[in-house]
């Protein structure tokens, strides 16, 4: 195991934790939308979708960059 592999693992672990936290946030947003009966501004819906794809994509990029 070389140094860069350990660094890769560290970053992937960090992103995984971040993604779990993001999913919790998404569930909380859904509940907030339901209870407050308010819609999100469109730009924030786009940001949520973008983030949902960007974090796993980053994990893949980190795995593949060599």
């Amino acid at each position: 195991m070389n140094f860069i592999f350990i660094v890769q693992l560290f970053f992937i672990f960090l992103l995984l934790i971040l993604y779990i936290y993001f999913l919790l946030i998404v569930f909380a947003i859904e509940r907030a939308k339901r209870t407050s009966k308010m819609k999100l501004p469109h730009i924030w819906s786009f940001i949520l979708i973008f983030t949902a794809f960007f974090i796993p994509l980053s994990m893949v990029v980190i795995l593949l960059v060599q």
């Binding site: 140094f3 860069i4 660094v7 890769q8 970053f11 960090l14 992103l15 971040l18 936290y21 993001f22 919790l24 946030i25 909380a28 947003i29 509940r31 907030a32 209870t35 407050s36 009966k37 308010m38 819609k39 999100l40 501004p41 469109h42 730009i43 924030w44 940001i47 949520l48 973008f50 983030t51 960007f54 974090i55 980053s58 990029v61 980190i62 960059v65 060599q66």
Partner: protein
Amino acid sequence: MWSKTKEKILFTHKIHPLEHFGALQLFPNETIRIVQRQHWVVLIVPFLVLVLILASVSFLISLVLQNAHILPLSQLHEMSTYTIVTLLCIVLVAGVFIFMRWYFQFYIITNKRLLHIHFFRIGGYYMEEVFLEKLLECEVDSKASNFIYDLLGIEDVYIHFGNIEHNEPFVFEAPSNAQKIEYIVNEHSIKQHKRTDLEPV
């Protein structure tokens, strides 16, 4: 054809108007007098702090790595790619959290209650309410929490109660229009006083 309606649907940045606030279950004869979020400046401070912390951390890491000569140049590039990507993800997630906490937090005054509601919570739901009928003696006090807010005229409104069991004040933290809140509470207090003065002893 790129119509104006499509443009409106895709690029509407407007937040949901608060006049249509329908989440609160009202008592009979209860009407909403004011619904406010915190001032939008409240959003900027945590964003700035976050960006500053992340920029300084990444700067420090890059300085250490460059000067220590631990890694060859190609691996250094890889490391910087990982760092930038991860920092972007952190900014995105933290940004979403900060915005949602602001967006789903409301201060509401009805003709019967004062309410502070947090709809966006990772665990649970938060609501603080005080009934205005109990509020015979109250003292409204407003002051800015720091120097910048003082310059911008953003104030916290503290409502101290004289005749209620709990001694802690009800706080409106940096509402978008503190003066209006102060006016409404004072108006209510004056009405209550008039009512009690008119009542026969």
